[in-house]
């Protein structure tokens, strides 16, 4: 029998900020790579500006008769039903990053959000020697943000010498982070460190600090591991000395898992096909290991 | 006459707009079934008074009684409930709706929750028949001529069998034929006991139509007279407050120089082979019925309409007028008949309007505001424009004063050839006289003037020659010595030499 073409649908949120841009970049890169390396695969990559648009995207992909679906849901509850529909109709389903309330997938792959918060908290606490003043810039008001902030706060709470002066959202946007940081700098005459959980926002923060001419801020920690920031760490920036991974390339691994799983192949040297849950570690990137994380051309 | 009999009595009605008094203690009793004329110069407060009665404005003080009962009229809806209908001075029709939809706007006939279009259409056809207006009930308003719109307005006011019918200059845009029909209708309504309040600047009309008249001047009630006891001369004197002599000036001398020549002008579906010339110092009149194409002729000359054929010569030189800018450059000016729709920017001040076309004369890079104001002030004095201040926006001026601003706006382009389309529409006798004298002084200076008018008296009194148009063609030409209403009407109606059957206003009443 001739091997049937494997149709893989990939649905992601549109590139509305750096990380999602990276996501789309990685999805397209993986599609291109696998088209070369694998026989008989086809990819349909779609990006949605909102959760309800994404519901339509998945419906459309199903019309195209996909065999596998790799999806990073805009918001899990909104996508729950349509992912269920896909999964129940026999489509091999990989959910990325944002977990469904009621599992309806073959594989879930994500970064470690709580881990990102706690690794960040621990590193920062160590760098501050357990005392000082921190301001926090949060992401968009979705569960991921809450998991990270909660975990961070929990770690910091163990260090009574550290106070969190302020914690406001900037939606993972450079521009908004810049404005929020400018205001922090006005409001708080002394700040020792900033935690902003996303490297895009970190750029806005750095700009605000630079313009204010203030030198009290000794440490700024972002997150998710954008290429620009990794480069800064490699270059030995005195303030930006680390970041914590939350890689958008998880979607590429999701696609790999979908191909493996849908074809019932073994995963790498494992004795099994794709596992049902893959959590990518929140890794600390600092001067010691930064060079390993550099990817040429990546969008994030 | 006792007060109890009065269908409408006004008691000390005053109105001011933010401190500016425009009506002062107006008291008058109007009897059922009478036709009350209202006279006054532009801005005297006529429209304001009628708007108070019909609920568009609220009085500042005083009270209104309907059939002896104190009436609170706070909106047009209140007025309607009390049996008051109004035909406003400016058009009040919805362009995108059809004739019958406009006539029944706000007073739709229904069957259950749904509209009864059939009944409304039928009623409309009846009304239009009554008005002898050959209009389709389904025609869209935006496709109608000014006069046709006016007939729709009249039909709209008639729908409700109002007790009191208010008409604010209903005849300004009508030709004599339509005016005749309207007057017949007013007579009929009157005989049914309907009370009519009637504003007009045409004194002859008032004389013919009204039982009594009231004269306003600067917001004061000057007189209430029995029409039979007052002649036009007196009316004018009371309005203006002084003697008014010689409405039409003597004609100036026509020079040999042809200022404008039009040859074989055609516009698709509208105009056919229009040719004529005007000399310097000459006033050329254009007569004709509604829709005969006079406005189109002017617009085609000015480059506002695409010409199919035709050549235009200015001062003997052929000119290529592709748009109105070219026309202005060649010294042409065109005062449109539709001053609100085409003429004036209503939220601009007086100087801003006057300098709009001639702005380049006031600006070398930057506008010299002082100069525009001084110039505007000059026109305000010359034409006696009444407004709160130079900086009043045009929407707050009375109709006649708007017209004067419009005329100033074109004069400020220093034209050589002036085309005036219904120049005295809605203008009071005194202003009319001023405009006529102004036209004369322009021709004295060698300007050529084209006057398009539905007011035959105006054509007769002003023009050296009159061209009469009919269905997009020039039907005939009348020299000054041959000018009279009958001859114009014959040509306009396309009836050659049947003088006996000519309709005449005078015969009617």
């Amino acid at each position: 029998a001739v091997a049937k073409t494997l149709k893989v649908g990939v649905s992601v949120p549109s590139a509305d900020h750096g990380w999602t841009a990276g996501l789309l970049w990685w999805a397209e890169k993986a599609a291109a790579d696998f088209k070369k390396s694998e026989k008989d695969v086809e990819f349909y990559v779609v990006a949605a500006s909102s959760g309800s648009k994404q519901v339509g995207d998945v419906e459309d992909l199903m019309i195209k008769g996909i065999d596998a679906l790799v999806i990073l849901p805009h918001n899990p509850a909104t996508l729950q039903k349509v992912i269920e529909e896909a999964y129940n109709s026999g489509i091999y389903t990989v959910v990325v990053d944002r977990e469904l309330e009621t599992p309806a997938q073959n594989v879930f792959i994500a970064g470690d959000n709580a881990g990102l918060g706690s690794v960040s908290g621990e590193w920062l606490a160590k760098e501050m020697n357990g005392k000082g003043k921190v301001v926090v810039i949060e992401g968009m008001s979705i569960p991921i943000n809450k998991q990270r902030v909660d975990a961070f706060n929990e770690v910091i709470a163990k260090h009574p010498g550290i106070t969190i002066l302020d914690s406001q959202p900037a939606d993972w946007s450079t521009q908004k982070a810049l404005a929020v940081m400018e205001n922090y700098l006005q409001k708080h005459p002394k700040i020792d460190a900033v935690w902003c959980q996303d490297d895009d926002m970190l750029k806005g923060v750095m700009q605000a600090i630079k313009e204010s001419g203030r030198s009290d801020i000794k440490t700024v920690l972002g997150g998710a591991g954008s290429q620009d920031i990794i480069q800064m760490v490699v270059a030995g920036d005195p303030v930006v000395r680390a970041t914590v991974t939350y890689p958008p390339s998880m979607v590429a691994s999701g696609i790999a898992l979908a191909i493996t799983g849908a074809r019932h192949e073994h995963l790498g040297k494992m004795y099994h096909s794709a596992p049902s849950r893959v959590i990518l570690a929140a890794e600390l990137i600092d001067a010691n290991n930064a060079a390993e994380f550099v990817v040429e051309d990546a969008a994030y | 006459m006792s007060e109890a009999q009065a269908i409408l009595s006004l008691e000390n009605i005053s109105k001011s707009f933010s401190g500016v008094t425009v009506l002062q203690n107006i008291s008058v009793q109007i009897q059922a079934g009478e036709v009350m004329g209202i006279l006054g110069e532009n801005g005297a407060g006529k429209s304001t008074l009628l708007k108070i009665i019909s609920g568009i404005y609220q009085r500042s003080s005083g009270q209104l009684k309907i059939a002896g009962e104190v009436a609170e009229i706070n909106s047009p809806a209140d007025a309607k409930k009390l049996g008051i209908a109004m035909i406003p001075q400016e058009f009040n029709l919805i362009a995108s709706l059809s004739v019958f939809e406009n006539i029944f706007l706000g007073q739709e006939l229904r069957s259950g929750p749904l509209l009864n279009k059939k009944a409304m259409r039928l009623r409309t056809i009846q009304l239009l028949e009554l008005l002898e207006t050959p209009l389709s009930a389904d025609a869209l308003i935006e496709q109608l001529s000014v006069a046709e719109k006016q007939m729709v307005e009249i039909a709209k006011a008639l729908v409700n069998d109002a007790q009191i019918l208010i008409m604010d200059e209903p005849t300004t845009v009508l030709t004599s034929q339509e005016v005749k029909v309207l007057f017949k209708l007013i007579d009929k309504l009157k005989s049914q006991g309907v009370t009519i309040l009637f504003i007009s600047h045409k004194l002859k009309e008032v004389k013919q139509l009204c039982d009594r008249l009231m004269i306003l001047r600067d917001g004061d009630l000057i007189a209430v007279d029995q029409v039979s006891q007052i002649d036009e001369q007196d009316m004018a004197r009371k309005m203006v407050g002084r003697e008014l002599n010689q409405v039409f000036p003597s004609r100036s001398k026509v020079l040999d120089n042809v200022a404008l020549r039009v040859e074989g002008l055609s516009v698709k579906n509208l105009l056919n082979d229009i040719s004529f010339e005007v000399r310097q110092g000459e006033v050329l009149g254009f007569g004709g019925l509604v829709g005969s194409g006079r406005t189109e002729t002017a617009e085609a000359i000015m480059g506002l309409r695409r010409r199919q054929q035709g050549r235009i010569y200015v001062q003997q030189q052929p000119v290529n007028i592709r748009n109105i800018k070219d026309a202005v450059k060649h010294g042409l000016a065109y005062l449109s008949e539709d001053r609100q729709g085409c003429g004036l920017t209503m939220n601009f001040t007086i100087p801003e309007n006057i300098s709009l076309i001639s702005l380049s004369n006031y600006s070398k890079g930057l506008i010299n505001h002082q100069q525009t104001r001084e110039k505007a002030q000059q026109y305000v004095r010359q034409f006696d424009i009444k407004a709160a201040s130079l900086d009043t926006e045009l929407m707050y001026l009375s109709g006649g004063n708007q017209q004067k601003v419009y005329l100033s706006k074109w004069m400020d382009t220093q034209p050589q050839i002036l085309i005036l389309d219904e120049p005295t529409r809605g203008v009071d006798v005194n202003t009319k006289k001023e405009i006529y004298h102004f036209v004369q002084s322009m021709t004295e200076q060698g300007l050529a003037v084209v006057v398009i008018s539905s007011d035959m008296e105006e054509l007769i009194g002003l023009a050296h020659r009159v061209l009469v148009m009919r269905e997009g063609r020039i039907q005939g030409e009348l020299q000054q010595q041959d000018l009279n209403e009958e001859k114009i009407m014959f040509l306009a109606a396309g009836l050659h030499g049947e003088a006996a059957s000519a309709p005449s206003l005078q015969e009617q009443h």
Partner: protein, 334 residues
């Protein structure tokens, strides 16, 4: 704009009563949306084998029904000379409140019915708020609803603590996810409302008044029309349709995500209305045009996905198709 062009070479003023006059009058420009739709369907059917699959058609129709239903209400607002930018956030707010109510009421059909009723009432009430701001408050509709857009979204986040709201009711999903005679329920509702709206707009005095108010409020008020009342009510109408759309959406998904539900719906709804031939200047428009406009937008999205257009370029294609659809209408006004 510069030149006065007569669109209709017939002499309109003569009472010719030929049978031609009795036909409803359609100019090229009022047929345009329908023609654009047909062309698009044809092209789509040629471009993709999947397009005409019945399931795809019902999918597309369901996808457009959420904004389509709102676009119907929006048509009234726009014809009356207004605009409502708050509809998207209002969907989220009503959606969240409905699910909270549903979870409070517990399981069963009764709870569902009450919730639907409540959604309509809440939508109408929020619409009334916009109506008050624009009439009593005399604030331009654009600004008033820009402000309430921000307010509604923020209240949604506040009430729900930014967390997604999931309904516990087992019957609720049957509303938005259900089918009747093979056609999704939201689609039935869309069609039914379009029909009802058409009757109101064309065949009732209120509809006539909406056109008059949008065309010239001063004239309308001289005609003894309660301008403020008519205008106000259009906002209530669009609020009402928002309420229904919120029910369809939240029941289809059995959840509402406060930050994202209804995002950009205002743009899609307005685009549908305008592609359907209703002028933003107000005064005239049709509901069937809006239905067609909504479907055109839906087909564009669908085809972009079916044809696998690069996600980066989808926006370009979508923009171009909107331009072409509107260019076909040879619109006179700005």
């Amino acid at each position: 704009m510069n030149e006065v062009v007569k669109m209709n070479p017939k002499n309109p003023s003569i009472a010719s009563s030929s049978w031609l006059d009795k036909l409803p009058k359609f100019s090229m420009s009022s047929w345009a949306p329908l023609i654009a739709l047909l062309v698009l369907v044809l092209l789509s059917a040629m471009a993709s084998d999947h397009f005409l699959i019945p399931r795809n058609i019902t999918n597309v129709l369901r996808q457009v029904s959420y904004t389509g239903i709102i676009a119907l209400g929006m048509t009234f607002v726009i014809i009356a000379g207004g605009i409502d930018l708050s509809v998207g956030s209002m969907v989220a707010l009503v959606g969240v409140l409905v699910i909270m109510l549903l979870n409070y009421l517990g399981d069963g059909w009764l709870a569902v019915s009450i919730a639907i009723g409540a959604a309509m009432v809440m939508g109408a009430a929020f619409g009334a708020l916009n109506g008050l701001l624009t009439t009593k408050g005399k604030i331009t509709a654009f600004v008033a609803t820009l402000a309430t857009m921000s307010i509604f979204r923020s209240l949604t986040l506040y009430i729900s603590d930014a967390g997604e709201m999931v309904s516990q009711n087992n019957y609720y999903p049957d509303i938005g996810g259900g089918y009747w005679l093979g056609i999704p329920i939201p689609v039935w509702l869309f069609i039914g409302l379009a029909f009802l709206g058409h009757i109101i707009l064309r065949h009732t005095a209120y509809g006539r008044h909406v056109c008059a108010v949008g065309s010239n409020p001063k004239v309308a008020s001289y005609s003894a029309i309660n301008v403020q009342g008519v205008y106000f009510l259009t906002f209530v109408i669009v609020g009402f349709t928002v309420g229904l759309s919120a029910v369809m959406l939240s029941s289809r998904l059995n959840s509402v995500s406060p930050g994202d539900a209804g995002l950009f719906y205002e743009l899609d709804a307005i685009a549908a209305v305008v592609i359907g031939g209703t002028s933003l200047a107000g005064g005239k428009g049709t509901l069937w045009g809006t239905v067609i406009g909504a479907i055109i937008l839906g087909i564009i999205n669908n085809m972009l996905n079916l044809m696998g257009v690069s996600p980066y370029l989808q926006g370009t294609v979508k923009g171009l198709v909107i331009l072409i659809a509107v260019l076909m209408q040879f619109k006179r006004e700005r």
